[in-house]
Symmetry: C2
Subunit: 304 residues, 2 copies
């Protein structure tokens, strides 16, 4: 075995940080130690991982292969360490939860409040994802529970999924927007000729990314969260779908107007997915809560 997990960590850090110097700092080592590790790996495998002709090191083609596959290997190794810890204590070191931004945050807070009452000493790491990001987080090991996964589950061992409920979308425009005054249903042509605001898929390479409710050849302004999308919509920078729960207050205040449109996207059926082998007592409790009807209802109900 020529590869070591340590050398993969070094490569990963250099790629992530962008330079030997920054990676060295991140790893609490000295730059020349990284040079040593990288050169050693390169000579072991007889490949060049970094192109040193330029001023700063740049990954070669085979270097990209090593880094991207190496990340998967590291993720698996980390998961093994988590499972070992689980085996010892029955509890997870840290509960890694990802959620789709479609899931109203209030409901998560409600759930986490109950969680902390029961497990006051367990760390929770919550990460917001968009579209495929939930699946990606689960498969890459960034999360062990994903709340609000949509579409087909990637078929794989060690993955459970249950339905959670569905989210209704409304197509909105700002009252300042050119389309605000149009009385009839918007046509595809109306939509095509105006900029659409989209939230970027948050996948990080474990599964292909995707987009939703966008017509081909449309001008797209991509943002990173629903809050940014709302701001952009309010400012009249473009048009697009919003979950009803997010849009409600602005519709009530008249700042956003609901428009009828040809169906571009259907109500999203969301699910909860998790990795059974990576869950301990805390994670299983959380799944039990998510299975309860009350919990489901809260999540997709909008108070009036």
């Amino acid at each position: 075995m020529k590869i070591t997990l340590d050398s993969l960590q070094v490569l990963e850090a250099i790629d992530r940080c962008g330079s030997f110097a920054l990676a060295a700092e991140a790893l609490h080592r000295v730059p020349s130690a990284l040079t040593y590790t990288v050169s050693k790996l390169e000579s072991q495998l007889s490949i060049t991982i970094f192109d040193r002709t330029g001023h700063r090191a740049k990954l070669t083609a085979v270097g990209h292969l090593v880094v991207s596959e190496g990340r998967k290997l590291l993720a698996n190794a980390e998961q093994l360490e988590r499972r070992i810890h689980l085996h010892k204590t029955g509890y997870e070191e840290q509960l890694l939860i990802s959620y789709d931004q479609l899931v109203p945050f209030d409901n998560l807070i409600f759930l986490l409040d109950k969680f902390y009452q029961k497990f006051p000493n367990i760390d929770v790491k919550l990460s917001a994802e968009v579209l495929g990001g939930c699946w990606d987080s689960l498969l890459s090991g960034r999360a062990t529970i994903a709340i609000g996964v949509s579409d087909d589950p990637p078929i794989r061992d060690d993955l459970s999924v249950i339905p959670l409920g569905s989210i209704d979308f409304v197509f909105v425009v700002s009252r300042k927007h050119a389309l605000a005054t149009k009385k009839q249903q918007l046509t595809n042509d109306d939509i095509m000729t105006h900029r659409i605001i989209a939230v970027a898929d948050s996948t990080r390479g474990f599964i292909p990314s995707r987009s939703t409710g966008i017509l081909s050849e449309q001008v797209v302004f991509t943002v990173n969260s629903f809050n940014e999308k709302i701001q952009a919509l309010l400012a009249g920078l473009g048009i697009g779908y919003l979950p009803l729960s997010y849009a409600k207050e602005y519709i009530d205040s008249g700042e956003l107007l609901i428009k009828n449109v040809p169906p571009l996207c259907t109500p999203a059926a969301l699910g909860v997915a998790w990795r059974p082998s990576l869950l301990g007592k805390a994670g299983n409790w959380m799944i039990k809560q998510l299975k309860k009807q009350t919990c489901l209802e809260r999540i997709h109900t909008i108070e009036n």
Copy 2:
């Protein structure tokens, strides 16, 4: 990262060889070096991997977890090294082919003869598998091409499958066997009350093993290859299915008799499966040959 690939290799070797001493020999190290590596890993993870109360070291529960998951990690690491080599040269270091014992060996020899004419310098490692063993070898990385996979492909990235043809089975008994003289079709009762000879599934834990053509509550004599099965059938130790191609010569000589039976197993539809990312020029040539009609026909045709 507390785990190292080296420590996993050490654990793997100890588990495989059955003792520190034998593993040390296999790894060309001294036993105390293994003690050191194992103790270090144990203290890093704060677990005990081996139960040392007895004379020889025995894996604990968590030790089993580490070894079995560690094997997968090691297999992935080896695959990465193969891909790196492939990226450098375009050729595989070694072509790892597994085949189901159902596939007549002559046809493989014919294929490999053509292969060596074209690629005289590429090592080939051929391994015989039974039932799920072909898939298992492919998923575990013991093989990159599997000839004669059957049933559903395990759905997974980086896996291609094409049909190869099908194999006809005949149910046979020795002329010495008690059932040899029975004229009519054998009943389920006839079969149940006699020992059946089965070939053991050769999976090694990457997928669940399975069996075929066996009635529940039947007395089973399990052997490891079709040749052993033939010997056992000839000796009248039991009854069972054989691929027509294997059985032909014994049927012609009268040593085995074909019996009509209620349908227990259907003709097996076989396929070829491979891992595209692990194939180079040699492997792709092999796949091209396997796709050719001539090759398919040879494989399931029996010369008269």
